[in-house]
């Protein structure tokens, strides 16, 4: 057994007028590494009022995105040793820039609104062929690195451009999905999609800061996708 000092952002709208940090010493097994989510569960055993979202505990559902020692990530697939380092201190805060509902739970409405804006579905009015809409292996390969997004919001909530303009800048997650459909050979709405993004804020607020790329738990690259969209907009004659 060894001890980890966990500092957790606490806010209960029914009791607190403003958020505070709560420190808890948590005993963890010394013989193996835990994930941050495991430590959080141990902390919750000590104080059952600690609130957070979680579901699959294996980096697939994307519900336990949070700010772990200053870096956004999924608690369930972030090893304690990697996050806390030799200091054995864990600081858990909610995803930055979004309104906190309680403790580590944020209101993702603005994030979803931006996602909805880019119309994240295939648009093709031509009657579907009897079997399926076919793609060549090369066309399909263009979607790699785009379709894997689980919408955990780690990238978008680490982006300063989104913090300052959450209502106008689509954000890295939304733009990655936007490019996923722009790059899809089966999608027929490329021109309309580009027209919808053609303003000073939706795409062009990206300053290439790359916080999004640095935190993505799936190793995806929104900066590159945004660059591709920008090129498409320029070629179209913005």
């Amino acid at each position: 057994m060894s001890q980890v000092l966990v500092s957790i952002y606490r806010y209960n709208p029914e009791q607190d007028s403003k958020p505070r940090m709560q420190s808890l010493a948590v005993d963890v097994p010394g013989d193996r590494d835990l994930m941050v989510l495991d430590v959080l569960e141990l902390a919750k055993a000590k104080d059952p009022s600690i609130t957070y979202r979680r579901s699959c505990r294996e980096g697939v559902c994307g519900s336990d995105g949070m700010n772990i020692n200053g870096v956004n990530g999924l608690a369930c697939i972030t090893p304690l040793t990697k996050a806390a380092g030799p200091a054995r201190k864990l600081v858990l805060r909610p995803l930055p820039g979004l309104p906190v509902i309680r403790d580590l739970v944020v209101d993702l409405s603005q994030f979803y609104e931006q996602f909805e804006k880019i119309r994240p579905w295939l648009i093709n009015d031509e009657p579907p062929p009897p079997a399926e809409r076919l793609q060549s292996p090369d066309e399909r390969a263009k979607l790699d690195g785009l379709y894997e997004c689980i919408l955990c919001a780690c990238c978008t909530t680490s982006c300063p451009s989104f913090w300052w303009n959450p209502d106008k800048f689509v954000g890295p997650a939304g733009l990655l999905q936007s490019y996923r459909f722009l790059a899809d050979s089966r999608d027929a709405a490329t021109a309309e999609r580009l027209a919808e993004l053609d303003d000073p804020f939706s795409v062009f607020r990206c300053r290439g800061i790359m916080n999004c790329v640095s935190v993505c738990p799936k190793g995806l690259n929104p900066t590159r996708a945004i660059g591709k969209i920008r090129n498409m907009l320029v070629e179209r004659g913005t």
């Binding site: 700010n67 290439g208 900066t223």
Partner: protein
């Protein structure tokens, strides 16, 4: 009759929706936001980006001063000497060096932006390498400018 009822109903709904919106707005603004910039760990790419902006603001603010000195140095031979004398004392020289470094940094970081727009250094590894290169060249340039000035 039916038309009237429809209007009343629609109005009722409208106000209710308005009220719901209002309360949602109040709840939203009352909620805290975790945005303590000192609690966030910044990757090197972000530091290079914010320094790019700070150096740009610095250069913009220094423009009146630089334009004044430029104008003075072009006015006459005596003016040129006066401008030279002004820059000779240690404090203004330090300011001049700082501005030269800011300009150099802003230029190099801007070139990195152009390269990234052309698709170079857009991977995470490439982005970090580019950011570190910008810092390395700027530090070298700052030392060189210091040697030239002193």
């Amino acid at each position: 009759m039916t038309g009237n009822r429809f209007v009343t109903q629609a109005l009722g709904e409208y106000t209710l929706a308005g009220l719901a919106n209002c309360s949602a707005e109040i709840v939203k603004t009352a909620r805290p936001v975790n945005l303590n910039l000192f609690s966030i760990k910044w990757p090197v790419t972000a530091l290079v980006s914010i320094a790019h902006r700070i150096s740009g603001v610095l250069l913009f603010l220094a423009m009146p001063l630089l334009l004044y000195l430029f104008e003075l140095s072009l006015s006459s031979e005596a003016g040129f000497r006066r401008a030279g004398a002004m820059l000779a004392s240690p404090m203004p020289r330090l300011v001049g060096w700082l501005l030269a470094v800011a300009l150099l940094y802003h230029l190099i970081a801007g070139c990195r932006h152009l390269l990234m727009d052309m698709g170079f250094g857009e991977t995470w590894r490439g982005g970090k390498a580019g950011a570190r290169t910008v810092i390395a060249i700027s530090v070298l340039g700052a030392i060189l400018a210091g040697i030239l000035l002193w």
